[in-house]
């Protein structure tokens, strides 16, 4: 196996810059890795092998002539299958969009392509990003590279597994209730959910519009910062995107955390049913951050216990609306039928998987006349309380540290029959989306069984710089993110 796949994106950029490797070699090394490992892992839905090599060669040529559009030009990236691009099949892990290729480019991909990055492959996901294990994909169940009998997490499970298994140095995912951070934690990689509105959602197939946010999965906080810098910024096509200049996220990584106040909410560590071993590892990580100069303090987020319920009311309501457009009329799958109504019924019955249909039903109920006030409006009020919890907490601290997930990756199939158990794995992540604030999950150790555990760092709105600075400083003192799973081909 080529050592090239062990490098982070920023390291690869340096090696290319130093003339020690070409972009073509780097892409080829990852393609070889995919060839060997993805048969077992099933992280990717489509690979642009020849196009990626050509694009890498072109980047090499541009670099040789001194006109590379960015430091990362020619380096490969995997993309979750819910980001649209004429270059990729954006099937969202769903039969209803099987074979779908959009005639336009998602804003974030446009920016990455302008920076010269190579879209290497599409990554598997839970159908329409609904799920926490990647088992809801209509096409493949991705396996966890650290233990192929276990789930990679979800819904960006393919992105996380691809990065963990060194099939791509980084990937893009989307996070609605934890869909970047949770699989990042379960696969031992870095996953960043930026502030709501930081990255344009234009071209991200909507699941729950008020919660969805695009972000990077990578092997280091530095890579996440670099990628965020490329994809962040106002977009007139997304009215919810944040105006104002984009900070220099990578430049903010000073390695210095002295004086940073890290809030530790006790209720996140004492949750019933949580895996004690994982909780201990997270506590140790917080201790390590303290050792390198940060101060810790107690904070409280009292409405956390309503987070999952609130989240599932709102995300299903929005999903039921967003998924109305998949009706067999314009694109995607259409079931043969005798009448219009029959066509709708059969197309949607056959085209959507069980979890998607469950959420459409729940969401339609939440929005229906007579229940709207009791469910949707009340959930919106609780959402406000949760947002205020975070605002209050950030008056006394700069960053909040929590576990990302209550426990490590679970065996495939273990929770598929119990949606509620599956939903509860979002307990530490969903409130972050409800509040719209940024958070990152970074590897902070392994269980005795060798499964990765993630530390979640949450920041105030638009506080990614501090968040990434703390994450990066921690990674300068630890090597959890350097560990590589043993895989076929070793």
């Amino acid at each position: 196996m080529s050592a090239l796949v062990e490098h982070t994106l920023c390291e690869l950029a340096e090696r290319v810059e130093a003339g020690e490797a070409s972009c073509r070699e780097i892409v080829a090394a990852h393609l070889e890795r995919i060839e060997r490992a993805d048969g077992e892992i099933g992280a990717l839905l489509g690979v642009r092998a020849s196009e990626a090599l050509e694009e890498a060669e072109r980047a090499d040529a541009l670099r040789a002539s001194g006109s590379a559009p960015s430091k990362l030009a020619g380096l490969p990236l995997a993309v979750k299958a819910n980001l649209v691009s004429p270059q990729l099949e954006s099937n969202c892990g769903s039969r209803i969009l099987e074979g779908f290729r959009a005639p336009y480019q998602a804003s974030c991909l446009e920016r990455l392509r302008e920076a010269g990055l190579v879209l290497l492959a599409t990554a598997n996901m839970d159908e329409f990003a609904m799920g926490s294990s990647c088992e809801n994909s209509a096409f493949a169940a991705t396996r966890n590279p650290w233990d192929p009998q276990r789930v990679p997490g979800g819904s960006s499970g393919g992105s996380a597994a691809a990065v963990a298994a060194r099939m791509a140095p980084a990937a893009l995912g989307s996070d609605t209730g934890g869909s970047i951070r949770q699989p990042a934690a379960l696969c031992g990689v870095v996953g960043l959910k930026p502030t709501y509105g930081r990255v344009s959602r234009y071209g991200l197939v909507a699941f729950a519009s008020s919660l969805d946010q695009i972000g990077p999965l990578a092997r280091s906080a530095e890579d996440a910062a670099e990628l965020l810098g490329l994809i962040a910024g106002h977009d007139p096509r997304d009215s919810t995107s944040v105006a104002g200049p984009v900070p220099d996220f990578r430049g903010a990584l000073s390695g210095e955390v002295s004086g940073v106040r890290v809030g530790v909410p006790a209720e996140f560590f004492s949750r019933e049913g949580a895996d004690e071993e994982s909780m201990d590892l997270v506590r140790q990580a917080v201790g390590a951050i303290e050792e390198i100069g940060a101060r810790t303090c107690g904070v409280s987020l009292p409405h956390t216990e309503y987070g999952v319920a609130t989240y599932y009311l709102l995300c299903t309501a929005e999903a039921s609306s967003n998924l109305s457009r998949y009706d067999g009329v314009k694109y995607g799958f259409r079931a043969p039928a005798d009448s219009l109504e029959d066509m709708y019924r059969r197309t949607r019955s056959l085209g959507f998987g069980a979890e998607v249909k469950r959420r459409i039903l729940l969401g339609s109920y939440v929005l229906s006349a007579g229940y709207y006030d009791a469910y949707y409006l009340r959930a919106q009020r609780v959402r406000t309380l949760i947002r205020r919890d975070f605002e209050a907490a950030f008056e006394t601290c700069d960053v909040i540290a929590t576990p990302t997930v209550p426990g490590p990756a679970w065996p495939l199939g273990e929770k598929t029959g119990d949606p509620l158990q599956m939903y509860l794995s979002d307990v530490f992540t969903a409130t972050v989306n409800l509040a719209g604030v940024p958070a990152v999950s970074i590897p902070c150790g392994f269980t005795r069984a060798g499964l990765p555990v993630g530390l979640q760092l949450i920041g105030p709105a638009l506080g990614e710089e501090t968040l990434l600075r703390v994450a990066d400083a921690y990674q300068r003192h630890t090597d959890w993110h350097r560990r590589s799973p043993a895989l076929p081909g070793h």
């Binding site: 819910n82 980001l83 649209v84 954006s90 969202c92 969009l97 779908f100 959009a102 005639p103 336009y104 998602a106 959602r201 234009y202 071209g203 991200l204 197939v205 909507a206 729950a208 519009s209 008020s210 007139p236 096509r237 997304d238 009215s239 919810t240 309501a317 929005e318 039921s320 609306s321 998924l323 109305s324 457009r325 009706d327 009329v329 314009k330 694109y331 219009l340 709708y344 339609s364 929005l367 229906s368 006349a369 709207y372 949707y376």
Partner: protein
């Protein structure tokens, strides 16, 4: 006492039978005259080939997001200001869900609980009395596409979907149920359309679907407080259809009740050929559209300063212009109304009067002749080569007796067709009035000699016949004789 619906200027004079009254509310969908759609950059030219006026946003492709068109908001706000509405500092876009092939997202973006404008009113004239029909609200929304059913295709037909209209910006103007009959409904629509056209907010073109009307109609016995069950009449695409459909529906409902039946709440269409309304769907239970605020669009905020700027930029509206014409120039209400209904006509008239101050004389030429020529040309006034200044010059020729009114009309037609200088046209065409009294006196003697019987009758007291002789004189000069000279010469000759 119930208010008698009276004849509107151009409407019918029909009113519900004694003992009954009708309660009518109108919902008008007016298309905003923007260059692009409400939430996308696609143009929306009428008559373009199917699905050519679309971007990925209008097609409802996965991943797209709406972005508000500020020009549409501007036009909507202008309309609301002109209608005296209360503008809401913050309003919300909501999604209205239903499945239909020409609704690409499976929902329409509209405004529901919090529209951008409340209240206001449309001034109408009903039976010579000014009255205001109050508005409930105005909201912004996007149009749906168009389904074209083709039954000719084997296998039970096929439906084509054209999304050119999808996303076209509309304002829906909802009236209070204060309209009492078809004539008032017509007056309301004419007034509203005139106003929107004044503002350049809407072309008002009904054939192109730019101004569409639905009517909610119910009846009750006079004196009854409670409203009757209403039906909704859909897709009434001309003023005449609106009036006829409402009249038919009122009669249908009254007949139903008088026969011991009851009105069923339903949506009805209008079959113009059969001259009757027909049932489209019965609302057994209200459809659940599952409205909720669109999370893709932040609240629509209207900045106070911007509103004031728009208010200051409003043109003078027809009501104010009409009042001014009556008060300052002594025009009749009817002529003033004709002149002010359309902004281009009023603008033309005012430019004319600036150059030719006899407004009363000028008003007849514009209200009758210029409008007839425009209608015949089938174009707008600004598109015709006719300049107010040329018309003013022509009117001065008429006043000076150099051109008879009949020849003046001929010259006007030429001005409307090709433009030019009226005096030159007069000379080229030999239309200069015959004003030589000697020449005309000779002609008068010939005319009288040819009609001895009429001369006899005139002299025995039938003074009306004077006009007959004038007519004969004009005929003999092919309309070129100067009328005052003709009259003078005739009198003298008859008195000889």
């Amino acid at each position: 006492m119930r208010e008698q619906p009276n004849a509107a200027p151009r409407g019918t004079s029909w009113s519900p039978p004694e003992g009954w009254e009708a309660v009518i509310g109108l919902e008008v969908h007016a298309q905003l005259a923007t260059d692009s759609k409400l939430f996308s950059s696609a143009p929306h030219a009428f008559g373009a080939s199917p699905n050519s006026q679309t971007t990925e946003v209008d097609l409802g492709l996965p991943g797209v997001l709406p972005a508000i068109n500020r020009r549409a908001v501007e036009l909507a706000v202008r309309a609301a200001l002109a209608l005296g509405c209360e503008l809401q500092r913050e309003s919300l876009f909501a999604r209205k869900h239903y499945f239909y092939p020409d609704l690409p997202k499976g929902y329409q973006i509209s405004q529901y609980e919090r529209p951008f404008a409340l209240g206001g009113g449309v001034p109408i004239e009903s039976g010579g009395q000014a009255r205001t029909i109050e508005l409930t609200r105005i909201h912004l929304e996007e149009d749906a596409g168009k389904s074209i059913h083709d039954p000719a295709v084997t296998g039970g037909g096929v439906t084509h979907v054209d999304l050119n209209r999808a996303g076209v910006p509309l304002i829906e103007i909802v009236s209070e149920p204060q309209i009492r009959g078809p004539a008032e409904a017509g007056a309301y629509l004419r007034s509203l359309r005139s106003l929107l056209r004044y503002l350049d907010a809407c072309s008002g073109d009904m054939e192109k679907g730019c101004f569409r009307c639905d009517a909610n109609v119910s009846v009750r016995r006079s004196g009854e407080e409670r409203l009757g069950t209403r039906t909704e009449l859909k897709n009434l695409n001309s003023f005449r259809f609106v009036e006829k459909a409402i009249e038919f529906e009122i009669e249908r409902q009254i007949e139903l009740i008088e026969d011991g039946g009851a009105v069923v709440q339903q949506t009805r269409g209008w079959d113009e050929r059969a001259g009757r309304s027909y049932e489209m769907r019965t609302k057994e239970q209200a459809e659940d559209y599952r409205y909720f605020p669109d999370p893709d669009l932040p609240p629509l905020a209207l900045d106070e300063e911007w509103i004031e700027r728009l208010r200051a930029g409003l043109p003078e509206l027809p009501g104010s212009r009409r009042a001014r014409y009556v008060a300052d120039w002594g025009l009749s209400e009817e002529v003033a109304r004709v002149l002010t209904e359309e902004r281009e006509v009023a603008d033309f008239f005012e430019r004319l009067v600036a150059d030719y101050p006899d407004a009363k004389s000028a008003s007849g030429w514009v209200a009758r002749d210029v409008l007839e020529l425009r209608a015949a040309a089938g174009r707008s006034l600004v598109e015709l080569p006719l300049e107010p200044r040329a018309l003013a010059a022509l009117l001065r020729l008429v006043d000076a007796g150099r051109v008879s009114p009949a020849s003046g009309r001929e010259i006007l037609a030429e001005l409307a067709a090709r433009g030019g200088d009226p005096e030159k046209i007069m000379l080229e065409r030999g239309l200069e009035a015959v004003a030589d009294s000697g020449e005309l006196a000779g002609l008068a003697r010939e005319v009288l000699a040819a009609h001895p019987r009429q001369v006899e009758q005139y002299r025995s007291g039938q003074q009306k016949l004077f006009n007959f002789f004038v007519g004969q004189m004009m005929k003999a000069t092919r309309g070129k004789a100067s009328p005052p000279v003709v009259q003078q010469v005739l009198r003298e000759t008859l008195d000889e």
